[in-house]
């Protein structure tokens, strides 16, 4: 880490520790003293929090959609990745496919998974070895 960045990070640690110790009254009166619009500040942070919640909900919906793509079986993306990896480990001809593990987008992994199920490389039964 750049030495100056590390030094500024250490200073930020102390600022943060002091912010944690300061009472609500102190924070409020300091904000007023500094001419800060508290309502505006609060609303901005709440807005960012709402954006984060929205993104999380979007991600969840996406994952839910991906899960239902494999007909007959509800499969989690991590489980799909893991089953592809295990199939590749057991089948040397699938060496190239081993790359599917971490690098591909969820949709692409699911696509690969469906193809592997279709071609019998992976059994549809989730209780199967892979």
């Amino acid at each position: 880490m750049n030495n100056i960045r590390k030094q500024l990070l250490k200073l930020a640690d102390e600022v943060a520790s002091d912010l944690m110790l300061a009472s609500d009254e102190e924070i409020r009166s300091e904000a007023i003293e500094d001419g800060l619009d508290i309502e505006k500040e609060v609303s901005k942070v709440r807005g960012i929090l709402e954006q984060s919640r929205f993104r999380k909900a979007q991600d969840d919906l996406k994952k839910e959609h991906i899960k239902t793509l494999v007909k007959g079986n509800v499969i989690d993306i991590n489980e799909a990745r893991s089953r592809i990896r295990r199939a590749c480990e057991k089948n040397k001809d699938l060496l190239m496919a081993a790359r599917f593990g971490e690098e591909l987008l969820d949709e692409d992994v699911m696509d690969a998974y469906r193809q592997m199920v279709k071609h019998g490389i992976i059994q549809e039964d989730l209780n199967d070895d892979y």
Partner: protein
């Protein structure tokens, strides 16, 4: 097994979300101020850092337990993000062909504004050097306090600084508050927006 994972993840999310909802207005002000100082060593803007912090907690990348103080947890997460980003910059500074930053920047996007042209990298190194210089200059009229600032930057522990300066806990906390207030007044929008 799969269902249990989903249920656990849902419980974690609800627990984190409840805690986030319980943050008071003053906690949010604290978070914003902390973000404005933590963002400087990283490539995040203050808003991006806040957004990433919330997302890490909500998506369970950082598992929150309800007995933990949510404010402390968020600040620790924020610190960890800033620190990791600084380390990754050191390991492989990224260069991009198009150094232009999007005009309408959405802080909820996945990554910080990480692509930097070589010129921007040099500029960013110069910026942190300038900021450090400005920080130290702020305390030119208070040599004793400037020594504490330098000691903090040199990674001396609280105990070491107290011993060196002959301070007790109250004395150290008073000086630290003075440092924070002076920094906030000199950099009201945080270091990055100066």
């Amino acid at each position: 097994m799969l269902d249990e994972t989903i249920v656990d993840s849902r419980i974690n999310y609800e627990c984190a979300d409840d805690a986030l909802s319980s943050l008071s207005d003053m906690d949010l002000v604290r978070l914003r101020k902390a973000a404005s100082f933590y963002c400087i060593p990283s490539r995040y803007t203050s808003d991006e850092l806040l957004n990433q912090t919330f997302r890490k907690v909500l998506d369970g990348s950082r598992t929150y337990k309800k007995e933990i103080n949510i404010l402390a947890f968020l600040i620790e997460t924020m610190r960890s993000l800033a620190s990791s980003d600084c380390k990754s910059q050191k390991r492989k500074p990224e260069c991009r062909l198009d150094p232009e930053r999007p005009k309408e920047h959405d802080p909820s996007t996945e990554a910080p504004c990480i692509g930097k042209s070589p010129e921007e990298l040099i500029e960013s190194r110069e910026n942190v050097a300038i900021i450090k210089e400005r920080v130290l200059k702020l305390f030119d009229d208070k040599p004793g306090i400037k020594d504490v600032v330098e000691a903090i930057m040199e990674e001396m522990t609280r105990q070491e600084i107290k011993e060196l300066m002959g301070l007790d806990d109250t004395g150290y906390d008073t000086i630290r508050k003075y440092i924070r207030r002076r920094l906030q007044k000199a950099f009201p929008e945080g270091w990055k927006n100066e």
